[in-house]
């Protein structure tokens, strides 16, 4: 039984400090929903408010349409997977998984059966008698998921559960988590500061910064149509060109940056409309590194400019080329590894191209700091 979760203007404060500010979002039944944001932006705080460990200082939390105010964590239809998993080290794997049944007075045999069922779900069949410390990191991960699913919660809350795993395992677990979610069909609310995780797994993503929601949308939406400079710079890599508006034509904006003219499209607003700009407005134009091409790579592109080649970085499947305009504006361009670059030499001036459809203009605002 799945349920939707609705946050209505939720704020959580510690003294005078607001860890979450005025957060409103409706998470649909059966959705895989991620909160994505840098460390310390209030993700855990928000999750604790949903699970009942933190009381919102303002606003309402509804689960399945029911107001959760005053309902303790042990009475909510949610299960939380902790950042450090918090498995019980003195119990066997099966006892861990069946703990929520044990506290509800379920009999031993039934508990054992349910534990076996869940072990199968998370691909750990036959490991029920092991001690927690005998498991690998990824296996512990799966036990934590099984434990949280044992009483069939309506909503599963996951607090960066993959952060302790190494890269390969993390990628494998992403797929697995997504599959488990599809199988059990309940709402997953997932927290992460890793945009790769959020993009690969989620139906929708809420990008958070300093306790506030910056943008809610599908992975495509937040990646391709960022609403704010923070989202544009936090989700994925981006080149930020500071400049001023020269003219506008419908949704297209002509921007002057570093003494060059560029054509780009106006960014989206929350309500689906476009940003509107006046002449001389200070703006930032964002172009993804993979949208910038070397001149002879493509024919058609309405922006052509030249930059000085600095270095090249090999990243396996692709290469990152670092360039600079007049030593002021850094430009990064990612191209497929198949493209020949051996002829490039340092300080050489190179012509680059990008399409105005791949460039987004937004009003000046704070960027995400790495």
């Amino acid at each position: 039984m799945s349920a939707d979760v609705e946050l209505q203007k939720v704020s959580v404060s510690f003294g005078n400090f607001y860890a979450a500010k005025n957060v409103s979002v409706k998470i649909e039944k059966g959705e895989f929903f991620s909160f994505l944001g840098p460390s310390g932006c209030g993700k855990t705080t928000l999750l604790r408010a949903i699970s009942g460990f933190a009381e919102p200082s303002d606003g309402k939390i509804l689960i399945g349409g029911q107001d959760m105010a005053g309902i303790g964590p042990n009475k909510r239809p949610t299960s939380l997977i902790f950042q450090n998993l918090a498995l019980f080290p003195l119990m066997s794997v099966a006892d861990n998984i069946a703990f929520s049944l044990e506290v509800r007075g379920t009999g031993k045999v039934q508990r054992r059966n349910r534990a076996d069922e869940l072990l199968e779900l998370v691909a750990l069949s036959g490991q029920g008698n092991k001690k927690v410390h005998e498991l690998s990191g990824g296996q512990k991960q799966r036990v934590a998921i099984a434990r949280a699913l044992a009483i069939e919660p309506a909503v599963l809350l996951l607090d960066e559960p993959l952060s302790a795993l190494d890269l390969k395992l993390r990628q494998k677990m992403r797929t697995e988590l997504r599959e488990i979610q599809k199988r059990v069909g309940i709402t997953f609310i997932y927290i992460t500061h890793d945009q790769g995780e959020a993009l690969t797994m989620s139906d929708r993503i809420a990008v958070m910064n300093e306790g506030e929601l910056e943008q809610v949308g599908s992975g495509h939406n937040v990646y391709e149509a960022p609403h704010t400079p923070f989202v544009a710079s936090f989700v994925g890599e981006n080149n930020a060109f500071y400049g001023t508006v020269i003219s506008t034509n419908g949704d297209m904006v002509r921007v002057s940056s570093q003494g060059k003219d560029f054509l780009a499209k106006a960014g989206d607003l929350k309500d689906g409309k476009k940003h509107t700009f006046q002449k001389r407005d200070k703006v930032i134009m964002f172009v993804r590194p993979e949208s910038i091409f070397l001149k002879d790579q493509i024919n058609q592109a309405d922006n052509i400019f030249s930059a000085i080649f600095k270095t090249i970085e090999f990243e396996g499947n692709l290469k990152n080329i670092y360039l600079s305009i007049d030593g002021v504006q850094d430009v990064r361009c990612s191209i497929s590894n198949a493209v020949e670059t051996a002829t490039l030499s340092t300080s050489e001036s190179i012509e680059l191209k990008f399409s105005s459809r791949d460039a987004v203009v937004l009003p000046v605002g704070p960027l995400a700091v790495d």
């Binding site: 699970s51 009942g52 460990f53 303790g72 964590p73 042990n74 009475k75 949610t78 299960s79 939380l80 902790f82 950042q83 450090n84 918090a86 498995l87 019980f88 003195l90 119990m91 703990f99 929520s100 044990e102 506290v103 509800r104 434990r147 949280a148 044992a150 009483i151």
Partner: protein, 303 residues
């Protein structure tokens, strides 16, 4: 051994070995062996020591169990009863102590803010700067017939005449309980402190009640601390002297008071030694039994 020397350097190593060795041999092993040996010897004047009468004997142990031959009783009911009373009361006091200290230790370790925790720990420790004898007398003043508690109760009109707390041994049990709370609280605190707070929240999130969380998560985690605290409190309570002397009613005897009498008033050191050996043996057996039951190892206890 080599490792030990390399780690600490020759000077410090030698100092450590000599000082610990001295402490072990002269302050613990030799006196205990002497007592043990003495407990099997007859009580004869110093002059006759080493003479033909100085042979190993079990008279003192026999006396503890069966009493003097002149008495008509089959067993030494008086002494054995005092002994059993002492052990049982010490067990009871240890348990009460545990129940009393566990919530305090848990509160300090997991609930209180860092500041409150420090304040609580300090206010627990400060009373123990005063020595045991004085603390016992303070309790006597509180519990006496004309004492503070009776006066307050009479003033409030709860009672008409003073309650004799001393005769009812209320004062004694309170005193014994209070005397060693630190030795219970600190091992408990140390053990509970190391529990990850997320474990408590995870249990709660999975629907566990507070009591069950304690039974299934906190207590198993703190088992070694519980065993350690109980062991120390039991040993010290069973072996306490000052508190019983000051607070026990005239007709309650603590086993240590008997031992004290044999040594000092009756000038029968061998018998006193035999009685001590009995107390020590039973205490140690009891502790080992506890460890067996709770499946903790000696190494975990001293942690």
């Amino acid at each position: 051994m080599n490792y030990f020397f390399n780690k600490n350097g020759p000077l410090i190593s030698t100092y450590l070995i000599i000082s610990i060795g001295f402490w072990l041999i002269f302050l613990i092993i030799i006196p205990q062996l002497y007592m043990f040996d003495l407990s099997f010897r007859p009580n004869i004047p110093t002059l006759l020591r080493g003479g033909p009468d100085d042979v190993y004997t079990l008279v003192h142990y026999k006396h503890f169990l069966f009493g003097s031959e002149t008495s008509g009783e089959r067993y030494n009911y008086v002494d054995v009863r005092v002994f059993l009373d002492t052990i049982l009361t010490a067990i009871l006091i240890t348990l009460i102590n545990l129940c009393f200290c566990y919530p305090i230790a848990f509160y300090i370790a997991k609930v209180a803010s860092a500041k409150t925790a420090r304040l609580l720990i300090v206010s627990l420790i400060i009373p123990f700067w005063i020595n045991e004898l004085l603390r016992s007398f303070a309790l006597r003043i509180l519990f006496a017939g004309e004492g503070f508690i009776n006066n307050v109760l009479i003033k409030m009109g709860v009672i008409d005449t003073g309650i004799n707390f001393i005769a009812m041994d209320v004062a004694l049990y309170t005193g014994l309980n209070y005397a060693y709370i630190l030795l219970m609280i600190f091992p408990l605190y140390n053990a509970i402190e190391t529990l990850d707070k997320n474990q408590l929240e995870a249990a709660e999130d999975l629907g566990s009640s507070m009591i069950r969380t304690h039974l299934r998560i906190v207590i198993p985690h703190a088992k070694a601390g519980i065993a350690s605290g109980c062991t120390m409190v039991f040993m010290l309570t069973a072996g306490a002297l000052a508190t019983p002397v000051v607070l026990s009613s005239p007709n309650t005897f603590w086993f240590t008071q008997l031992i004290y009498q044999w040594f000092n008033m009756n000038d029968n050191w061998p018998r006193g030694a035999a009685y001590s050996v009995v107390l020590l043996t039973v205490s140690v057996v009891f502790v080992l039994l506890m460890m067996k039951i709770f499946k903790v190892k000696i190494g975990e206890i001293v942690r």
